[in-house]
C-alpha cells in the first residue's frame, strides 16, 4: 500500500514538474496541432497496438484529404506521402510487420521527433511512423514556412475532428533552439528521433533521456549509384531511368542523405552509356530545375579544391553549370569530404566491384542506387563493409519505408510483451 502510494505521489510530482516546465516556456512554444493539455496528458496516455483499425482508419482519412486536393499535382511530395498512408498501403505494412505469434506488441509510449529543417514533408513521415507503431508523438516542426506543412497539418486537423480518440497522440510544436524545451520533451520521451544530421544530433544530445528511453538518429550520410553500362543501354526505359535519377538527386538539391554523389560505371560500354545517360539527365534538369547563380560558383570551387587535393581528376560539364561531373582516377579515403550538391557528381570507371570497398566500408555510406542486376553488389556487401544500409533501384532512393537508414523503425518504436 505504502509503496503504491509513493509511486502515485512520484507520478504527481513528475506531472507537476512537467506542468511547471511547460508554463515556463509557453512564450517560446507554438502549438500547430494539440495544446498544453495534450502535452500534459502524453506521459499517461495508453499505448496502442501497432496498426490497429482506429489508427489505419485515421491515416486513411488524412490520405483522402491530401489526395483529394485539386492542387495535389503541384505537390508530388505530399501526394507520395498520402499514397504511403492509404489503407491499402498501411494494410500491406501491417502484413509485413505485425506478426500474430502469441506475443503482444505495443507502442513504446511517447516519441519526441526533431524534424529536419530543409525537407518539407519529412516530419510527417516521422509522425505517421510514430502513429502507426502505436505511440504518442511530439514533433518539432521546421521553422521555415513550407506550403506542404500547412497542407498536411490542415488534413490532420480536419481528420482529428472525426477521430477524437487520436487527439491525445499528436502534438506538433514549433520553437527555436531553446535547449530547455529540448530538455523538457526529452525528459518525457520513451524514444527520441533526431533528423537533421550530425550537428543537430550533437545539439539535441545535450538534453538527457530517461534511463530506459531509446534514440534513433539520422546522421550525415552519403550515397552512390552503380550503373551497369550494358544493361542500361539495353533498357527500354531510359526516359524513366533519367527521370528517376533526377528525382533521386536534383529534387532534393542532391542534398538528401539518399542522393547519390558518385556514379560508378561497370561493364563494357561505359563511354557510350555515359553519353546517353548524361544527355538525358541534362535535358530534364534544363527543363525542371531552378538554378541559383551561387550554385555554379559553389560547384566550381568544390571541383577546383578537389583538383588541388587529388592529381589526375578531370572536370566535365555540358556547356553549362547545371551538371558538373568530375572524373576520379582513384577512389581515395577522403573523397566524400569533397562532395557538393545541386548537381555535382564524381564519376568512376570500375572494373571490379570490390574497388568500392573503401567507399562503402564507412559508416556514413547509406544507399546504393543501381541500374542493372542488384546481385552485382552482393560480393561488395559480403566483404563485411561497415556501411551500406539500402540497395535500391535508381528512382527509388527516397521511397520511405519502416526499414530506413539501417533502422527497423517498427522494431524500435514498439516493445514486445513476451507470453510464454
Amino acid at each position: 500500500m505504502q509503496r503504491s502510494g509513493g509511486a502515485v505521489i512520484l507520478m504527481q510530482k513528475n506531472l507537476d514538474k512537467l506542468e511547471h516546465d511547460i508554463d515556463a516556456v509557453s512564450d517560446d512554444l507554438a502549438y500547430l496541432i494539440g495544446s498544453r493539455e495534450t502535452l500534459l496528458g502524453m506521459p499517461s496516455v495508453k499505448s496502442s497496438i501497432p496498426f490497429d483499425d482506429g489508427i489505419l482508419g485515421f491515416l486513411d482519412d488524412v490520405a483522402k484529404r491530401l489526395m483529394g486536393r485539386p492542387d495535389i499535382r503541384d505537390f508530388p511530395d505530399v501526394a507520395t506521402l498520402g499514397f504511403w498512408i492509404r489503407k491499402a498501403a498501411t494494410t500491406k505494412l501491417k502484413e509485413r510487420f505485425y506478426k500474430k505469434d502469441g506475443d503482444v506488441r505495443l507502442g513504446r509510449g511517447v516519441v519526441f521527433h526533431i524534424a529536419p529543417s530543409n525537407v518539407p514533408v519529412n516530419y510527417a513521415y516521422s509522425l505517421f511512423t510514430g502513429i502507426l507503431t502505436g505511440n504518442a508523438n511530439i514533433v518539432r516542426i521546421p521553422s521555415r514556412d513550407f506550403a506542404q506543412v500547412e497542407i498536411i497539418n490542415g488534413a490532420i486537423r480536419a481528420s482529428l475532428k472525426d477521430h477524437i480518440d487520436m487527439e491525445p497522440y499528436i502534438c506538433l510544436v514549433r520553437y527555436g533552439r531553446e535547449q530547455r524545451i529540448n530538455d523538457m520533451f526529452s525528459s518525457i520521451a520513451d524514444t527520441r528521433i533526431i533528423w537533421g544530421g550530425d550537428a543537430t544530433i550533437s545539439e539535441i544530445r545535450r538534453s538527457p533521456l530517461m534511463p530506459r528511453a531509446s534514440e534513433i538518429t539520422f546522421a550525415d550520410r552519403y550515397s552512390l549509384a552503380v550503373i551497369d553500362s550494358g544493361q542500361y543501354l539495353a533498357s527500354k526505359d531510359k526516359d524513366k531511368i533519367a527521370l528517376g535519377f533526377y528525382n533521386d538527386t536534383y529534387l532534393m538539391d542532391q542534398n538528401a542523405c539518399t542522393s547519390p554523389h558518385i556514379v560508378i560505371w561497370v561493364g563494357d560500354e561505359k563511354e557510350r552509356a555515359k553519353k546517353r545517360f548524361w544527355d538525358d539527365i541534362h535535358e530534364i534538369v534544363k527543363k525542371r530545375y531552378t538554378f541559383q547563380p551561387i550554385q555554379g560558383i559553389n560547384k566550381l570551387t568544390k571541383s577546383y579544391l578537389l583538383a588541388v587535393a587529388q592529381d589526375g581528376i578531370k572536370i566535365k560539364s555540358h556547356g553549362d553549370n547545371l551538371i558538373i561531373r568530375v572524373d576520379i582516377p582513384k577512389i581515395t579515403k577522403d573523397l566524400m569530404d569533397h562532395k557538393c550538391d545541386c548537381g555535382y557528381f564524381f564519376e568512376y570507371d570500375c572494373e571490379d566491384i570490390s574497388e568500392l570497398k573503401g567507399l562503402c566500408d564507412d559508416k556514413r555510406c547509406q544507399t546504393i542506387a543501381y541500374i542493372g542486376g542488384k546481385e552485382m553488389l552482393l560480393p561488395l556487401v559480403e566483404l563485411g563493409v561497415k556501411g551500406i544500409d539500402r540497395v535500391v533501384p535508381v528512382g527509388k532512393t527516397m521511397d520511405f519505408d519502416l526499414i530506413w537508414d539501417g533502422y527497423d523503425l517498427y522494431g524500435q518504436l514498439t516493445r514486445i510483451i513476451k507470453f510464454i
Binding site: 529536419p116 542534398n255 542522393s259 541559383q292 551561387i294 579544391l305 553549362d320 545541386c342
Partner: protein, 363 residues
C-alpha cells in the same frame, strides 16, 4: 612581358584592341609562371585540360573562384620570399582569404594604385584625413582589408590624421585643427563606406544641428567597401554622396571597387558615377548559368583579371559579386577601357536536404 613596361603607359589610355593585346600577353605569361611554380594551380589547369593554344584573349584565361583563397594557401614563390600576408575582412567565424605577397608583387600593387588614384585626384600628396580609428592598422603582420586599404591609400597623404578614436568617435577638435592648418590646400578623405556613413556623416549631421559645421569643399573623399550594410539603412549610392555634400560641402567623392585578392588594381568611380577598369586589370561580366560573357547592360557575375599577381595565382578570379557592364572606351569622362557598376553579392543558395547544417555553414 614585364610589369614595369605596363607601368609606363597612362592607366586609361588604351582602347579595347590595344588593351586586349597587352593583357592577353601579360596574363598568358602569368598563367605559365603560376603553372610552373604553384602545384595546386597546375593541377587545376590540368583538370580542365587547359591549353594555351585555346587562349585568344585575356577573357579565355581560366578564372579561380575567390573562395579558393579562403580554403587554400596558394603561392607561386618560396615561403622565404613572402613579405606580407593579406587577409580579407571576414565577420567572426568566417574563413578569410590569405594572399601571399613577395616584394615585387607588393611593390607593383602600390605603383599601380598610385597611377590609378592620381588620375582621379591629381599627382602629388595631400593632407589626408583617415575616417577610421588608429587601432585598425596596428598589427602590421596580418593586414585586414580595412587596414590594407588605409595603408594602401596612406601613400597619398603628406600629413595624416585618424579622425576617430578607438571607440569610433569623431575627434572634433583634432579635425578642426587639421583643417585649419591646411587651409587652402586640397585634402584627401579616405574611409570605408559604412564607417563613413555611420561614424562621420551621422556625427556631422548631429553637430550641424547644434551649430557646429565643417567646410570640406576643398576635400575629395575616396571610399570603398561593401554597400551591404548601407542597404539596411536604405541609402543608395547617389544619396550617400548627395547627403555628405549637403552636410559639409564636400568637394567630390569617389567610390571604388576592389578586393584583397587583387589589391592595387582598384576600380575608381569617375565623376559620372562609373567604375573604371584601368589598363592593369579588367572586368568581365559572366552569365551564371554557363559563365558566357554578358552583353553591355546585362547583369552578371563579376570576373576580374589583373596583370599584377606574381607571388600567388590570382591574376584571373571569379568573384561572388554581381555587376553590369555599362560601356567600353566611351565614358563621357574621357577614360578609355570598360566602365561598370556593382549590383551586390550573389545570394546564398537556399537548398533542401536532410542535413540542417548546410545553411549555417554558408550563411
Amino acid at each position: 612581358m614585364d610589369f614595369d613596361e605596363i607601368l609606363k603607359i597612362p592607366p586609361y589610355s588604351l582602347d579595347k584592341t590595344e588593351k586586349r593585346g597587352l593583357l592577353t600577353e601579360r596574363l598568358l605569361d602569368l598563367t605559365e609562371h603560376h603553372k610552373k611554380n604553384c602545384t595546386g594551380y597546375a593541377r587545376i589547369l590540368a583538370s580542365i585540360s587547359y591549353d594555351r593554344k585555346n587562349v585568344y584573349s585575356h577573357k579565355d584565361i581560366p578564372a579561380l573562384p575567390v573562395r579558393l583563397f579562403k580554403e587554400l594557401s596558394l603561392k607561386s614563390v618560396p615561403q622565404s620570399d613572402i613579405v606580407k600576408t593579406m587577409t580579407s575582412s571576414g565577420t567572426s567565424g568566417q574563413a578569410v582569404s590569405k594572399i601571399y605577397l613577395d616584394r615585387a608583387t607588393a611593390s607593383n600593387q602600390q605603383k599601380a594604385m598610385v597611377k590609378i588614384v592620381s588620375d582621379i585626384t591629381g599627382a602629388g600628396r595631400m593632407p589626408m584625413v583617415i575616417l577610421d580609428c588608429p587601432s585598425v592598422v596596428k598589427d602590421r603582420s596580418m593586414f585586414s582589408a580595412r587596414g590594407a586599404g588605409i595603408l594602401g591609400f596612406s601613400i597619398f597623404g603628406s600629413k595624416k590624421i585618424y579622425a576617430f578614436d578607438d571607440d569610433m568617435r569623431l575627434d572634433i577638435d583634432a579635425l578642426q585643427r587639421f583643417l585649419d592648418q591646411h587651409q587652402g590646400k586640397k585634402k584627401l578623405l579616405f574611409g570605408f563606406t559604412f564607417m563613413v556613413w555611420q561614424h562621420f556623416y551621422k556625427e556631422l549631421l548631429r553637430l550641424k544641428e547644434i551649430g557646429i559645421t565643417f567646410d570640406l569643399s576643398d576635400a575629395v573623399l575616396i571610399h570603398g567597401g561593401g554597400w551591404k550594410r548601407l542597404v539596411n539603412e536604405a541609402v543608395t549610392q547617389g544619396e550617400f554622396q548627395e547627403r555628405l555634400k549637403n552636410v559639409c560641402r564636400l568637394g567630390a567623392s569617389h567610390d571604388y571597387y576592389g578586393m584583397v585578392e587583387q589589391t592595387g588594381c582598384i576600380y575608381m568611380q569617375c565623376r559620372y558615377g562609373h567604375l573604371h577598369a584601368s589598363i592593369f586589370s579588367d572586368v568581365i561580366m559572366r552569365r551564371p548559368i554557363d559563365l558566357s560573357e554578358c552583353t553591355i547592360g546585362e547583369r552578371g557575375i563579376i570576373q576580374v583579371v589583373s596583370s599584377i599577381p606574381e607571388s600567388y595565382p590570382g591574376h584571373s578570379l571569379i568573384t561572388e559579386d554581381e555587376g553590369i557592364l555599362l560601356g567600353e572606351d566611351d565614358c563621357p569622362c574621357g577614360r578609355k577601357g570598360r566602365y561598370f557598376k556593382v549590383v551586390g553579392r550573389l545570394k546564398n543558395a537556399e537548398i533542401r536536404g536532410c542535413s540542417d547544417t548546410y545553411a549555417e555553414k554558408f550563411g
